[in-house]
Subunit: 351 residues, 2 copies
DNA sequence: TGTTCTACGTGTATCGTTCTACAATATGCT
DNA sequence: AGCATATTGTAGAACGATACACGTAGAACA
């Protein structure tokens, strides 16, 4: 018969051992751990000391059975978008100094995968969920939001009451693109974007389309002069669509790619077809992701201040976790960042 | 007083309710869940039916208290490397058809952040851990490996007994670069890579350096003709180093950037300084990440078959989880993929 | 002195699952 | 028939933390 005091399991230090070492009750240690009410300074110190001495780490799975896990889930639509790291940096900013730690899931642009990941996260008792560019419908989101606090990024739902959102004003951004291109002297802008999907107006790409169309109308273009060409991402599809645009009748003199990762493929296609940027054709993206600044890309883009969006999303989430139930929707105003890809016509007014 | 049979908590269906519905014991349901021994076909069917009917999902946190969570952790060094998505695809391949689900952590290139994330994952009772390009020392790895099955990617430790690894042969890859550049007619290749760090020969960039140096020697270069310039990543540092190389005495006629994400910055710097690629200077990267194929990059690169590496890493991890204790180290042979950035001299033999 | 309040601690049921030990029944072998 | 051995199922104790309901000591006040 062993001493009953030394029965530790699997080498892991438990709250019980800490309590023994500090000479207090298990409940007291738990309180210290959670910064809960009813702990004297002396006790807090004593317990923290024992925890450090034994290098105790709370067992999240066990925590999850009764209380919080101090884990927030972050669902990313995919890994290939160079804009997302900026959002993640913002999320890290927002989490710094808290007990919370982010764990990521990758949706690979499939709503069934996303659903599976969200379920898995909920099953693992995450305390909150940030979804970046997810493909789920608002109704699905509300179902999830009833189980766990949710903040979405890249999905406009200003009327949603059960979850929060953090976004830039994509509709305004779409308009900025038109204003910028016209100011640079371009006369026949076209947009190229993802093929039709069933996301309705929540989807940011569609918001950008709407802004683009409205601004074109305001600038005096007739509806049949406003061109929005669809292409799935990937070099093959984008190249085919770009070729159809540029080698067809009345080719555009500038192209707006709905997002940077996508506009960089457009740039590749344009160059592969033998056109010069910006002399033959202007180009602008959206996000102002890091690679835009590379000399070989020099891509003008609409900055949506991703880091700030990430920060705000995190703030909203933590507020939700702490108990806020009224929805809040954060919106930041985007801004055009000029680079060489759209700088052509500025010196030669009117064609 | 409520019927004691209908006491479900927080809206969640539990194993108890499934058992009740199917008319069997809780233990039996658990067995079905785990595909454990001692369940008749009839019972399996009955239970699965009840689970579907009640749309039961096992509570991972509770599982974690006794058994597995069926979650594997994946620690990525950072988010900005366009090669990693390929590895992730491979990991997804390997996990497809199993019960396991990956959750990701992002280390931001800091070993303290990495340690925190690994701890958090272990505390959450992950069943296994894949580490991609991590910065921890082999000794730290062994400590972690004693708590949980570990497979590393991008870290050579062929003698490690407590964890597995999956890699390409980076030393051979470094040599391939030299052979390729010389075959293309370049005469003064240089390498540019990360600044000194303390990772010793485990680090893949150092393996590539070793291969580069050895191949240069074999080709007849004296040691003082073999140039390896350090630069931290980021356009500023890379540009400064590239300028020093190209505007200094005896400038190289080709540059090997240690990884693609980094070589694309080199390309940006080279162009910003007014040099033409490949005419003035050849360029080659490593990884054969997706953006290499863009026309504006056209970056020759060493393909290390990331998807296969991801697949193998996952296979190794699952084997470990199932009980294998003998270490296994997978190695794939890399291959040069020619693009325009190094195609210059092939038509004009010797300078 | 007695009463009430507040601050600080404790004991212990509980969370949803797994897993060990064992019971009950069926099957195989002499 | 009698006994050993599979096979299939059950009961109930963990697992490690949380949180509720209390207990107690001391201060404040009449």
């Amino acid at each position: 018969m062993d001493k009953p005091t030394s029965r530790r399991l699997g080498g892991r230090v438990t709250i019980r051992e800490v309590a023994e070492d500090a000479g207090v009750s298990v409940a007291a240690v738990s309180k210290v751990l959670r910064d809960a009410y009813g702990v004297s300074e002396a006790m807090r110190l004593k317990v923290r000391e024992s925890m450090a001495k034994l290098s105790y780490r709370p067992h999240s799975a066990a925590r999850g059975m009764r209380g919080q896990t101090y884990t927030v889930g972050v669902l990313m639509a995919d890994m290939k978008n160079p804009f997302f790291p900026e959002l993640i940096d913002g999320i890290d900013d927002g989490l710094a100094g808290t007990q919370y730690l982010p764990l990521f899931g990758i949706g690979h642009g499939s709503s069934s995968v996303e659903t599976a990941i969200v379920h898995a996260m909920v099953d693992r008792q995450i305390d909150g969920l940030i979804m970046i560019g997810q493909r789920l419908a608002t109704s699905d989101l509300e179902a999830i939001a009833s189980e766990v606090p949710v903040v979405v990024i890249g999905h406009h739902a200003p009327d949603a009451a059960t979850f929060d959102s953090a976004n830039n004003d994509d509709e305004r951004g779409g308009a900025l693109v038109v204003e910028h291109l016209l100011a640079q002297g371009y006369r026949r802008p076209a947009m190229i974007t993802l093929g039709r999907n069933d996301l309705g107006h929540a989807d940011v790409s569609q918001k950008r389309e709407v802004g683009f169309i409205d601004a074109m109308r305001r600038a005096g273009f007739a509806d049949d002069q406003i061109r929005i060409a669809p292409a799935d991402d990937g070099l093959d599809d984008v190249t085919a669509t770009v070729r159809a645009l540029l080698e067809g009748p009345e080719p555009p003199d500038a192209i707006f790619g709905w997002a940077d990762y996508y506009a960089l493929e457009v740039l590749s296609a344009v160059r592969a077809l033998g056109f010069r940027v910006p002399d033959d054709i202007g180009l602008i993206g959206y996000d102002n992701a890091a690679p835009c600044a590379f000399t070989q890309n020099g891509l003008t883009s609409v900055d949506q201040f991703g880091r700030e969006i990430g920060r705000q999303a995190t703030r909203l989430l933590i507020e939700r976790i702490k108990g806020r139930t009224q929805a809040e929707h954060f919106l930041v105003q985007p801004k055009v960042v000029l680079r060489s890809s759209s700088a052509a016509r500025v010196t030669q007014p009117d064609a």
